[in-house]
Structures are given as C-alpha cells and as structure tokens.
C-alpha cells in the first residue's frame, strides 16, 4: 500500500472540508473495498478522510412507511434492526448476506452504494425500492444515480449522507453467490410498492445494476413467480467470465427473480 495521510472526520461538513483540502483525497467508509484496493496498489489516494464515525451519517429511522438509513450504517446494523426488518425484511436479509460477519461489522451501506460494484447487493435494493440517495449537496433518485459499473451520479467530492425509501408492500432479494468471491453472480430485488412493481438485477449484467422492464410488466399483471415463466431473459448484455457464461447468467436472472417473488410472498 502506498503512503497516505489519514484524517478522522467529526461531521459531514468536516469531512467535506478535509476532502476539499486534499490533493487527491478519498472518503474512507468501512474500507472493506477501498483498503484491499489500496493494498493491491490499484488506488493510491494522497489523503483518506474517515467518515465511519460521523454520528449524523449513522442509524436507521422508520417513520410511518418511510425508511431512512444513514450512509455509515453497517451491514450488520441493517441486518439486525428489528424495526426495519418488520417493515422491509428484504433489505435486512440482503444486508445479512453481504460478505461475511466480520465484513458486515465494518462495511457500510453508503460505501457500497457509492462504489457501485457491478456485483454488489445494495445497488439492486436501492433501484428496486426507488430509493432517494441524499448527499451533502442534493437528493438523487436511484434511477438517476447508478450509471454503469463503478459509475454513479456523484460529483467529485460529493458524499452520500443517507438513503431513504418507502417500504414496499412486498419486497425480497434473492442472490446466487459467486462460488469464490461470494459476491452476487446474480442478485434480484423485487418490490411491489405504491409506484408499482420494480425489479432490479445486480451481478449478472455486463455494465452493473439494471432494471428489467419485461419482468416488471409481467409482475404488474400478477405478482407471482409463475408470471415470470413466459418472460425470456436475453443473454445479450450479460456478463461472461470463468464462473459462468452469459447464457447461464441470463438463466440465473429468471430463476432468482422467481425466487425473490416467491420470498416476497
């Protein structure tokens, strides 16, 4: 790992100030992706601004059906929050299967969403739940936020503070993990809420998380696994690698979507 200067931020504003003062700074959330990347010398920020301890960016609030999760809330906290689990079990289950227990103690929702790894779980949830990503500068709809793998609407120096969404009537996530990395080889989040049915797919596409209009249409007619039987998922645009080709991933998209719908009840 190349040398860097470490700063601990006390607030979101403090973090923004420290970041803007750095030559080539980076925000450090839980570090579960950034630190391995730095160890492999694939990233070498001059400064690291640690926001993991910023209180105003932590915690889960449920107000009516509106859920707000601070960006620095860890996966373990999302997975074990009883109030959240009762109103939106799908996202709690999703968080409980990210990485492993030690990773879940450090990794944060904000870090995952900002990184937009094409095999990460949270982007699928954000997109399917129609979440709003709140930054220190503005609010961004999930549909506008995710812009292809590792690419988001965040500007240079912009920082996610929290995300919020309306808990759907039904929602669940089904994931087929990559056998080696245990990242999603295909993960599908389905949600049936006030705005209709939304289906978001992570892990399978060759350019990151995406929504499936065909499946949303089919499920809008009937929210049941059987409703997806006649939907054909094309292998075009699917990822192909040593763990499975595009045809296999296309198959997984449908299988996981059906399982998510079944789990959503």
């Amino acid at each position: 790992m190349q040398n860097t200067t470490y700063h601990k931020a006390s607030s979101a504003a403090d973090a923004a100030a420290k970041l803007s003062g750095a030559e080539d700074g980076a925000l450090l959330a839980g570090g579960q992706t950034l630190i391995p990347t730095m160890k492999q010398r694939l990233a070498a920020p001059s400064d690291l601004v640690d926001i993991s301890g910023v209180e105003e960016m932590r915690g889960i609030t449920v107000s009516g059906s509106t859920v707000t999760i601070g960006a620095m809330t860890t996966h373990a906290e999302v997975a074990s929050n009883a109030e959240l689990r009762s109103i939106c079990p799908g996202i709690a289950d999703l968080a409980g299967h990210i990485g492993d227990p030690a990773v879940r103690h450090r990794g944060t929702l904000g870090g995952s969403v900002a990184n937009n790894d094409p095999a990460a779980d949270y982007p699928a949830a954000m997109l399917a739940l129609g979440a709003t990503i709140k930054t220190d500068k503005r609010e961004i709809a999930a549909d506008d936020f995710f812009q292809g793998m590792f690419s988001t609407a965040l500007d240079e120096g912009e920082m996610i503070v929290s995300v919020s969404f309306e808990a759907p009537a039904k929602g669940a996530y089904a994931k087929f993990p990559n056998p080696a990395s245990r990242y999603a080889m295909c993960g599908v989040f389905v949600a049936q809420g006030a705005g209709g049915v939304r289906v978001a797919v992570t892990g399978a596409g060759d350019d990151g998380v995406f929504r499936s209009a065909d499946m949303e249409d089919a499920l809008s007619g009937s929210f049941s696994a059987e409703a997806l039987d006649n939907v054909s998922v094309s292998a075009d645009g699917m990822l192909s690698d040593i763990h499975g080709d595009a045809a296999y991933r296309a198959n997984l998209v449908k299988v996981m979507a059906k399982r998510a719908v079944a789990a959503a009840g």
Partner: protein, 784 residues
C-alpha cells in the same frame, strides 16, 4: 493403556496454536533484518532485453538490487528436478535450465527477474516497482494442447516440441489384443483439473549470514528441511552443507507445495551474504498463486475392455501431463511412478498399458500436490468403472465387487505388489453406512421437491511411503526414501525423539509420542518430539506422500528396539536376573517371577552415571536408526457420496459423504479421522470448486480467492468416517498411511454422484453450477 497406540489422545501441540503462541516463519524477526521483494515477469513468455535498476537503487532504504546475471556470476546453480525419467526410446528427459532469477528469458507470469533488498517491506515493494525491465514478448503456450500443437513456441531449447519425456509402462501388444477381443470397451476423455495447493500460511524465508563463520541460517516454510539443505548445497552451491542450518519451525500446512526449493529461498540466502544483512521474504496470496507449484493438470484418453461376463480384460491409457515452465523438484515422478503404477486400482486387470507425454507450457511449474498422481489414477479408474457399469447396464457396486482383487499379495501389471486388504469389507461397510439400498426412496423424495438426487462411489487404492530406496533409485530417484530417528533417554528418564519427519499439521508431536508411551508405558508428557532443524536432528527425508506414519514411525520403532535392548541389559545387570526375564511395563523395568523392579528414571540415571553398568557397555542411553521400507504401503477404501442438484441453477449440495478406509494399524484415531476430513474437503474442492484458469496469453484468471474457489464450511458436509483395517505386512507397526487418501478417493465419488443425478456422464471437474447446468441442458436435448 490410555495414551498408547489406538488412543484418541488430544494433541500435545495444540496449546501454542490455540493461544496464538505458534512460531511460524513470518513471526520471527531477526536483528538487523532487511526485506526482499521480487520483480516478476508480467509476461508468460518473453526475452529479457534489458534491466534498468538505477531508479530503484536510488530510492530510500534500498540496499541492493540483484539480478540473474549477478546470481549466476556468483556460481549459484540452476534449480533441478531430482528424479530422472527415461523415454520409451531410451533417451533421458529434457530438463531445461531454471535460474532462480531469470537471465535472458522468462517463461511464466511470476517468473522472478530481480530481487530488491531494502530496509522495510514497503521500501522493497516500492523499489521493485521502479525496476525497469524491457521484454520482447514471445508466442505463448498456456496449456497442454497449445504446447504440443504444430508450430508451438519453443519454451526450452533442449526440449524439442516442448516434450520433456515420452514414457510408457506395461505391455502394449497384450493390452491392444485384449481390447480387440473385449465384449465391451468403454472409452473416455478425462481431464484432471489444475489446482493450487493453498496452504493457509504463505511461503516465507528468513536468512542470516554470519561472515565470521561463513555460516548461513535459513528459516523457511519447508516440509523437509534436510532435503532443502542438501539441494541448496549440492546443486545450487548457495552454501556448503555443513555451513548451512535450515530450520522449518511451525509450518502452516504444506500439501506438497512446501517440499520444493523455490527461487526465493535461494535468492534470500545469497542476498544475505551479499548484503551482510538478515533478509525476510513473505509471499502474499497473489504471489502464492503465481509461484507455488500447482498440482494435477492431466489430459487423458482411456479405454477399458470387459469380457461378456463383466470381467476387465485390458486397460489402455494415454496421458498428457502439463509440467509448467520448469521442472520442479519431484515433478517427473508424479505422472509416472506415482500415477501409472496405480492404474490397476483395486481390480484384477491382466493387461495394462499407459503412455505419458510430459510437456512444458508457459505456466507455473507443476509438482506433487496432496495425493500426487494417485488422485489422477483413482479418478480415471473409478470414472471408467462407473461409466462402464452404466453402459453395460450393470450395478456399479457389483461390477466393482466382481473385479476386486481378493488374494494377497497381488502383483499388478504395473510394478505394484499389494500386500494386504479386504476390498469387499470396505465396500460393504460404506454401502451399509450410506444406506445404499434406501437411495431410490430418497431420490423420489428429492424429485418431489424438484431436485435431482444422485449417488456415487469410488473404490480407491493408493501407495504411500515410496520405497525401498534401491528400487526407487533404479527407477530414477535422485534420493533414497528412508527415514531416520534418534531416541534420547535423558538421565531423569524423560525421552526426546528426534525425527526426520516434519509436522505441519499432522500431529506428530502427539502420535509419535504415543508410540513411545505405548512401548515403555511412560507418560505421554515425558516424551518430546524434536523436528525441523538440521542442527538438532540427524539427516532425514521429511514429510510428504503420507510417509511419516509408515516410514517415519517405523524408524522410531527401530531406534526404540535398540533402546529396549540396552535397557534390558542394564536392568538385568542391576537386578541381577537373566536378561530374558526382564520386561518393561508401565514405565518400570521388572524381572518376571520376582518382585524386583526399577523405575524408568533409575535406568536413565544408571546409564548416565555409569557407575554400575555391564562390562564393556558404553555409558548413555541414546540410539539412532535409519529405516528403509521393504515396499510401498497400500491404503485403500470405499467412498460414497450422495448429492442433490438444483436443476434451475446447477448447484450441487453434498448431502452425505461416507468414507470407509483401510489404513492398517491406527495410532490415534482422532488425528487419522482429521486427516481424512481434510483430504475429503480438498477432493470435494477439486470436484466441485477449484481450478486454476489461464487465458491464452498465460495470464492466471484465478489468482486470488475472489476467483479461485476455496472450499468453505458451507460447501462441505459433515463426514461419516469409518475404518475396516487390515494390517500392513511390510512395516513393524502395520501402518499404511492416511494423509492423502481423502483427497484421492473423493473426486470420483462426487462426480459419479453428480453424473448419476443428472443422467449425463459427460461432465468435467470442477463441476461448477454453470457447468452442471449446461450438462443438464445437454442431457435434456439428448433426451428430446
């Protein structure tokens, strides 16, 4: 007695490991210690045009930047393969030169080119990035087929067509005629997937040079420190043997990968002398994938012929074995004498012929990995038997039973002479434990849930403790494969056992002590095992090939025999009784028929005070022995695996795994079962999960745990491990060896279960979900 042979004694060595007090190589920090980092080739095949070290040399903390020309200029020799194989035509194998630092050419991604020595690890790593190597890229042969293709790039000048040897065994004409007359011939093309051993402790080396004494010390992650010292001295001329101490402290797993002498140890020793500094190098996991010797990687065509009654009449095998870019220490023996000699399996096969084409490729060197040749043989034989049974419409268990060898000793057509076994006994035990007969009901239950259930078996046999030395020497081995031991009874009666075996997880500190405790009835805690240090222990051959039990412990027994003889003489003298009446029981030396007795400590004291010993007896109580086995030992067994396949995703779940092994006499059943558990997990890993994948440019696509699938706790089941043992007839304890069996028998059992579930025999390892899903699709199309 409760601590002796057969007792499931808890391990003596555990305490330091469970409290974080283990002492692994990387835990050691020497005075005046600097760090090494290696500049490695990013290309699979290239000429080294120039090396510009100036920027690196100018960096903070850099002590030396060393290249291959300096290394060879100082007389450091090439890395060698220690087993000479002769081709069919009588020509010797074609061993290409392997310098610890490449001089003019690199042959795989990861090939070491330059070593940087610096004050800190970070400085060394940063300076290594600043070394500018100019390469001229060459065409790449990244797999067997590419290496043997017409016009393939020439990897070593002295190996035309990249062929190292073209070897055979058995009778070609007899086998051909047997197959020609067979009522049924099963033919298969079988690939044995390439694996990375992945001991959890990465390789490491720390070297120290004492200029005043011209003496070197190497702490290293080795399975065989004496062999390391011998090779480093005699072949690489790093240091004379008596001026080099090699210490292998606690070693975090080996599985074969830590047998070999790698470039890094050589370079760190040499660099310690050049810089007059102690030098540490520790691999990271990526370096481990790029440099630790890989295992397996065979492509085979096989034909097995049966008569009308289902008796095997002939077996013909043609295998191509990938050796990687250089010949590693024991590489040549793996696809020959550790593979082809096991092709008779557990069966009476009158005619066998096998030819093996050994080839270079632009990949990491390949050598022995847990099982080494025997897993490849077992996988081949047991998939052939299963497929043949299905093709002939026979019950797979009955076809095996019918062809089993039932009388011993049994001479196979491929060198091996099996001494003992009861193959049907193991088969019956495994089938009963697996409830083989209840399978159809379970299959129906799975089907009702939309799942495909399958059951498969494998009846493996393997060979441990390569022996005897004269025989392996005649087959080309550069070393003898005996083992040594020294038993020191101290004046107070405590006992130290110095063994040439090396424990890196096998529990020798407990098992070996049990043999001593059993012999003399002394407390286990009074016995200490000393190993892994060439300054303390007499020359020994180390631990691999499941040899520590059958060979290492036999050497201890032989030394104990000598100690016992001397103790009895001393006892007879002190008790004034005839020697033939002296017995040793419960740590006491007694004269039968009398109440005269001496405590064990009294014998020790008498031996060392020497005030009253028999006339002409030397003082002291210390005996050494070298044990050269009479024959290999032949562990065997029957494994049964039951799986459930999810047809939607192709994912396989192992529901039940039964192992019935014949290991001969078992010293500590708890430890033996642990060895079987670990072996099965590695075999399941090979069958379902693991594969080193190269692209056509020779880049490893699976060089981290993000892409190389290590078996995790939720990938494997709990195992039912059973024994049905017959005593080995060729060593004093009757031990057969247990370290590799699990990894040898399990891959075919798993694949036979999956192919049974999906109704398609055309499935290769690893049977990943995507591959099983595709095979299911192919089976569906075939059925329509």
């Amino acid at each position: 007695m409760s601590e002796g042979i057969g007792a499931a004694v808890k391990r003596k060595e555990d305490k330091r490991f469970i409290t974080g007090s283990g002492r692994y190589t990387d835990d050691i920090k020497l005075e005046n210690q600097a760090y090494a980092a290696f500049v490695r080739s990013p290309h699979a095949h290239a000429n080294v045009k120039s090396i510009d070290k100036s920027a690196a040399e100018a960096m903070d903390g850099v002590l030396a930047v060393l290249d291959g020309k300096q290394l060879t200029g100082d007389g450091i020799g090439n890395i060698i393969c220690g087993w000479a194989i002769t081709s069919k035509d009588g020509s010797p194998m074609n061993m290409g030169a392997w310098s610890a630092l490449a001089t003019d050419k690199v042959r795989y991604v990861g090939d070491a080119v330059v070593a940087v020595i610096a004050e800190t690890q970070a400085q060394a790593a940063e300076a290594a990035e600043a070394v500018m190597v100019e390469y001229e890229e060459l065409a790449v042969a990244a797999n067997i087929e590419a290496a043997v293709a017409d016009g393939a790039p020439q990897i070593h000048d002295n190996a035309p067509g990249n062929v190292i040897y073209d070897w055979d065994i058995g009778e070609l004409a007899d086998t051909d005629s047997a197959l020609a007359g067979a009522a049924h011939v099963t033919e298969m093309d079988i690939t044995n997937n390439r694996l990375s051993p992945n001991a959890m402790e990465p390789r490491a080396a720390i070297t120290k040079y004492d200029a005043a004494e011209d003496h070197y010390t190497l702490y290293t992650t080795s399975q065989n420190p004496h062999v390391a010292r011998l090779v480093l001295s005699a072949f690489y001329q790093v240091a004379p043997e008596h001026k080099l101490r090699v210490i292998a402290p606690d070693v975090g797993g080996g599985f074969g990968s830590k047998i070999y002498i790698y470039p890094e140890e050589i370079v760190c020793l040499w660099a310690a002398m050049k810089t007059k500094r102690s030098i540490k190098w520790t691999a990271d996991r990526t370096e481990a994938f790029l440099t630790d010797a890989h295992g397996r990687d065979h492509v085979t065509n096989a034909k097995m012929g049966f008569d009308a009654d289902g008796n095997i009449v002939g077996f013909k095998v043609a295998t191509k074995a990938n050796f990687g870019a250089y010949m590693s220490l024991f590489s040549s023996a793996v696809p020959t004498y550790l593979y082809a000699t096991l092709l008779s399996g557990t069966y009476n096969i009158p005619n066998i012929y096998c030819e093996v084409l050994a080839v270079y490729s632009n990949t990491v060197p390949v050598d022995a990995y847990r099982g080494a040749g025997r897993p490849e043989a077992s996988y081949l034989v047991e998939r052939m038997m299963e497929t043949a049974a299905r093709e002939m419409g026979k019950d797979p268990a009955e076809l095996r039973r019918q062809n089993f060898i039932k009388e011993f000793p049994h001479q196979t057509p491929v060198i091996m002479n099996y001494d003992s076994g009861d193959f049907e006994g193991n088969l019956n035990q495994a089938m009963e434990a697996a409830d083989w007969n209840g399978f159809e009901a379970r299959k129906a239950e799975s089907a009702a849930r939309g799942k495909l259930r399958g059951i498969g078996m494998a009846c493996y046999i393997e060979a441990c403790g390569i022996a005897p030395s004269a025989a392996v020497g005649s087959l080309g081995a550069g070393v003898g494969l005996w083992e040594s031991a020294e038993v020191r009874v101290n004046p107070v009666g405590t006992i130290e056992i110095l063994t040439g075996s090396h424990s890196h997880g096998q529990g020798h500190e407990t098992t070996f002590a049990q043999v001593v405790a059993d012999r003399f009835g002394v407390p286990l805690d009074s016995v200490q095992i000393v190993h892994g240090d060439t300054d303390k222990v007499q020359f020994g051959m180390g631990t691999y090939g499941s040899r520590s039990g059958p060979v290492g412990m036999s050497a201890i027994v032989k030394a104990l025999d000598k100690v016992e003889a001397k103790v009895k003489k001393i006892g007879a003298h002190l008790l004034e009784e005839p020697e033939e009446n002296i017995v040793i029981e419960e740590g006491t030396v007694k004269a039968t028929g009398t109440n005269k007795a001496l405590g064990w400590h009294e014998i020790g004291l008498a031996a060392y005070t020497a005030h009253n010993l028999p006339p002409d007896m030397e003082p002291g109580l210390k005996e050494g022995a070298f044990y050269d086995p009479l024959n290999f030992t032949f562990p065997m067994g029957c494994f049964i695996c039951e799986v459930e396949v999810d047809p939607d995703t192709g994912k396989t779940e192992i529901l039940k795994f039964v192992a019935s092994d014949d290991f001969g006499v078992i010293i500590n059943p708890m430890i033996v079962e642990g060895q079987v558990h670990g072996g099965i997990a590695q075999g399941v890993g090979q069958a379902l999960l693991e594969e080193v994948v190269y692209d056509e440019n020779g880049q490893q696509l699976s060089a981290s745990y993000m892409d190389y699938t290590m078996p995790r706790a939720d990938d494997v089941p709990s195992y039912d491990v059973l024994h049905h043992n017959t005593k080995c007839t060729t060593n004093p304890l009757g031990i057969k060896g247990c370290g590799e069996a699990g990894a040898i028998g399990s891959p075919p059992a798993v694949i036979n279960a999956i192919t049974n579930a999906i109704g398609n025999n055309d499935l290769s390892m690893p049977a990943t979900p995507s591959k099983v899903w595709a095979a299911l699709g192919a089976a569906k199309i075939a059925a329509e």
